[in-house]
Each structure stands twice: as structure tokens, then as C-alpha cells.
Subunit: 168 residues, 2 copies
């Protein structure tokens, strides 16, 4: 695995057995991004791609992504497109090149917060449904649901101001 883009490093130790390559700082960071994504219920490869773009922001070709991260083109296709759908990376085209390129979006973290906000609003929807369909005489239950609702309202508010605080 070679995460630099400099040609002279490309295949120094390339034909080794496919296990435990000692990772440098960059490689370790990318793997940790993968593990961290996995903990959040996101595909590990998505996290690794995100990490890769933190390191190399610039346009990177589809094929290069597959090769450097050592994953199939199919996985790159699926995961890069889902990251693009979230607005974390974006597709770009280079004139005179038929390949797809991706690059880090302008404000990837704002987009992350926005996807959190979507999740929270879904939760608010669930709470609304529960409040409507649970018998009105279960007062303690409704009180706890109201508390939960206050929490999500405040959390949504906090994240919206966070978006503003982070500028543009």
C-alpha cells in the first residue's frame, strides 16, 4: 500500500504477501478513519476514502483510488458515490480525460453535520408518531417523550448554530 502519489515510491515493496504491511503515519490515519467510520455504522471503505481525501485533497482518478486503497472498482464505485451523495466528496471531470475524478468537497464537515441533522429530524418524526399513537392517559410516558423531544429540539438547534459558527 502506497499512499503517496510520487512515482518513485510506487512499487518499492510491492510484491510482498498480502498481510500486515507496516503502516506509516498516513496509512495509519487512513485506517483509523476506516475504523472510526465502522463504529458509526458506515462502511469501512467509505471512511478510508474520506481519510484518503483528507490526505490528498486534489482530484484523484477512480482507478487510482481503487489501486491505492487496494479495493475493487466495484467498492470504489459504490462508496465514492455514496460519499458524493452526502456532499463530502464531489465528482469532477478533467478536460480531455474520460475517467471520473473525485475531490474533497468544499466544506465536508458541514455536510456531515447536515446528515446528522437529517437523522435527528427522523428521530423527531418517530417521537411525533409515538406521541400521537400512545394512549393519552399514560402521563409518565408522555412526559418522558416530551423530555426526549426537548432534547432533540435543542440538539438540532445546537447543530444549526454550529454550522453557522463554522462559517460559510
Amino acid at each position: 500500500m502506497d499512499y503517496s502519489t510520487q512515482a518513485e515510491h510506487m512499487s518499492v515493496h510491492d510484491d510482498r504477501e498480502c498481510g500486515s504491511a507496516p503502516l506509516d503515519g498516513i496509512g495509519r490515519f487512513i485506517e483509523q478513519m476506516g475504523l472510526s467510520a465502522q463504529k458509526d455504522g458506515v462502511a469501512r471503505i467509505s471512511g478510508r476514502i474520506f481519510g484518503y481525501f483528507i490526505v490528498h485533497g486534489g482530484p484523484v482518478s477512480f482507478a487510482q483510488l481503487a489501486e491505492e486503497l487496494q479495493v475493487s472498482r466495484a467498492s470504489v464505485s459504490t462508496n465514492a458515490r455514496s460519499l458524493a451523495a452526502l456532499g463530502i466528496i464531489e465528482r469532477v471531470t478533467l478536460p480531455g480525460d474520460r475517467q471520473d475524478y473525485y475531490q474533497l468537497a468544499a466544506s465536508p464537515f458541514l455536510r456531515m453535520i447536515e446528515s446528522y441533522l437529517i437523522r435527528m429530524r427522523q428521530m423527531q418524526e418517530i417521537l411525533q408518531q409515538a406521541d400521537d399513537s400512545i394512549p393519552a392517559d399514560m402521563h409518565a410516558t408522555h412526559a418522558r417523550l416530551a423530555q426526549m423531544r426537548r432534547f432533540y429540539t435543542a440538539a438540532v438547534q445546537a447543530n444549526q448554530t454550529l454550522i453557522e459558527d463554522l462559517g460559510q
Copy 2:
């Protein structure tokens, strides 16, 4: 599945085939809490237990939890203890009763935020390591890492003030 605690409902339709029972509002809410937890990378049963306690806050015995949620005692043991470790529910003992009881913690949502904060701080740690171990001449990379770090700093800050805003 009978989520009420009233005895007269206990076994009205009990001996049906073990599939798709039509869920009432309470049951639907509990299942949605389970699915929502799963999306967050948490065990579905943990989410259902949490939902159960939103509905029935009061002390509920270990055995009752297992029976009403239709899961093994082993699962209840594992998941209830992990929720208790997060401070979302807590163990209580009733005098003269050898069973374990659980109840909803005082401010379960504050504890949820605190566990998010832990995750964010781990992320900050990863960023610190990356910053230290990645060659200093990769200026663009360090700039992106710095941007990411600013994001997490702001997010941690926002969640801390959220905790304060939610009182006690």
C-alpha cells in the same frame, strides 16, 4: 409481544405463530428505537431496551425485560449492562427482592451526549497523531487536518454548551 404491564392484557393473543404481530403505537415505537440504534452502530436490542424504558420508566425486573422484549436473558444481561455503563439506565435493588431491576437514569440524554463527546475526543486524538507523524512538508494535508481539527473543537464546544443548556 405485550408491552403494557397490565395483567389483563398479558396473554390475549399469546399462542400465535412467532411472526409479524401487528404492533400498536408502543410496540412500534420500541421497534423504531431498535432500528434507529442499529443505524448508529449500536445493537438493536440496546435500542429496544432504551425504548422500553422511555415507555416504562420505572424499575423493571431483569426477567420481565427478557420476557416482554422476547429476547434471551443473555442478551438482556449484555445489553442492559452496556446501557448502564453508558449511564442511560441504572441498576436498582428492591428491598427483599433478589432480582435485578433497572430504571431509566435521571438524564439519559445528557449521558448520550457525553458518549458522543468521548468519540469526538478520540477523533481529536487520532488527528493529533496524524499531525505529528505526517511529514511537515505536506502543507496542504496539514491544512486540511487543521480544518478538521477546528471542526471537532467546535463540535465538542457546541455539545458541551448543549449539556449546559439542557439544565442540571
